[in-house]
Amino acid sequence: MIVTLIDYGAGNVTSVARPLRRLGAEVRLTNQPQEIASATSLILPGVGHCAALLHSLDAHSLREPLLAAIARGTPFLGICLGLQALYRRCEEAPAIPGLGVFPGEVNLLPHHVKLPHMGWNQLRSIRTTRLLDGISPDASFYFAHSYAAPAGGAETAATCTHGDEFTAVLECNRIFGVQFHPEKSGAPGAKLLENFLRLAA
């Protein structure tokens, strides 16, 4: 099982690569368009600022091959900013278009709660998703973000609430995304990554 991790510079790719390797996957880190084009499965991890991620994708000419791979049905998992980047636009980076795979906009969570939404929170299932196979509905996952994708989309499989309800897990064909950090979410996070590897195999 080979999984290609998109290393756009800012994401903490090492912490995502480690549990994948523990699960027996061969992990390839890349920022090369041709390697994304030939990948059999893709993970876009992200942490930090959405503009940095989108800008870096463009600077390395990765936007086109990534969108083409997703359109071809290459299994894709976006983590945190990697989920947010799938939407049309992010309020955090209004000048740079998102990947636009999904139509919604990623907006700042409400001000009446503490931001960033930082720590362990639980999910509300909207519909069955293969990513959460074998994971307790009570499981907690580690979140660290201030912006979030809308909850109502057809892609939304599970939501989380912090001030507002937002998309925490998405699944659409072979496109997957999680707003939390499975690589930092203990045993349930490792199980989720294992589920993705199995789906992508």
């Binding site: 720590g119 362990w120 660290a144």
Partner: protein
């Protein structure tokens, strides 16, 4: 389904070993950071904090190696700090495997460092550590391990730090640190009410009741302790069960 209050064990290290001492004096060995990290990861710690309290000395490569080896043990977030004076210092700590960095003295001396770190890593990765000591009817910010005074009032500095880009405050009561007499509740509540970001309370923890109080009266989002966990005075699992029984939302690992 609400955000869980977090319990954070802290490893104070001299670079290579975990040490303990009151107010940075009379340090004694308290264990191997790698073994403790693995234990806390398994026991249900919500994050781990690793600080280099000997950071002024020339053991930086040793500390970075410790972070690398600790990170390998963890499937929870890792915060590292102590002696971070520049963007380059922070980069090396993040490259070694830390998810967040703490800044303290250097941020007081060069507040723009907070903004630089926040631009590079995102606010969620920048933890402003504030050591506060009661002076009459307010709290004064201390630096250099609590020994040096500043002109900052703790609430004002916390607010300023958040404006500059800090995503979390690690608040240590210099008065309570090492006393095991409970967290400084008025200080924690005052800071928590002053800022829009999560606040980690530190200094004075011993009993489960202390944690309950800091999450309720103190309005803390997270609570940090060191020796009571290292010395097995308090188990994280038992502490969380107690908090849950008292109506506090915590994460109980499956």
């Amino acid at each position: 389904m609400t955000l869980a209050r977090r319990i954070l064990p802290c490893l104070d290290t001299d670079g290579a070993r975990v040490v303990k001492g009151v107010h940075f004096e009379g340090l004694r060995d308290a264990g191997d950071p790698i073994e403790l990290a693995a234990r806390y990861n398994a026991e249900g710690a919500d994050e781990l904090v690793v600080l280099d309290i000997a950071a002024a000395r020339d053991n930086r490569p040793t500390f970075l190696e410790t972070i690398r080896r600790v990170a390998e043990q963890l499937s929870i977030p890792l915060t590292a700090g102590g002696g971070i004076r520049s963007l380059e210092d922070a980069r090396s700590v993040v490259r070694a495997g830390a998810d967040k960095v703490t800044v303290n003295t250097a941020a007081v001396e060069h507040p723009e460092l907070i903004t630089e770190l926040s631009r590079e890593f995102g606010a969620q990765a920048v933890v402003l550590a504030i050591d506060a000591k009661r002076e009459n009817d307010c709290w004064q910010v201390r630096v250099r391990g609590g020994r040096a005074t500043t002109t900052w009032n703790a609430q004002d500095w916390a607010r300023r730090g958040v404006e500059l880009g800090a995503g979390e405050i690690l608040l240590t009561s210099v008065d309570r640190d090492g006393t095991q007499s409970g967290f400084d509740l008025p200080l924690t509540a005052a800071i928590s009410r002053s800022v829009s970001v999560p606040v980690i309370a530190s200094g004075g923890a011993k009993l489960p009741q202390h944690f309950l109080e800091v999450f309720t009266e103190g309005s803390a989002d997270a609570a940090l302790a060191a020796s009571i966990f290292h010395d097995k005075v308090q188990s994280i699992r038992a502490l969380k069960s107690f908090l849950q029984s008292q109506g506090v939302s915590v994460r109980l690992p499956c």
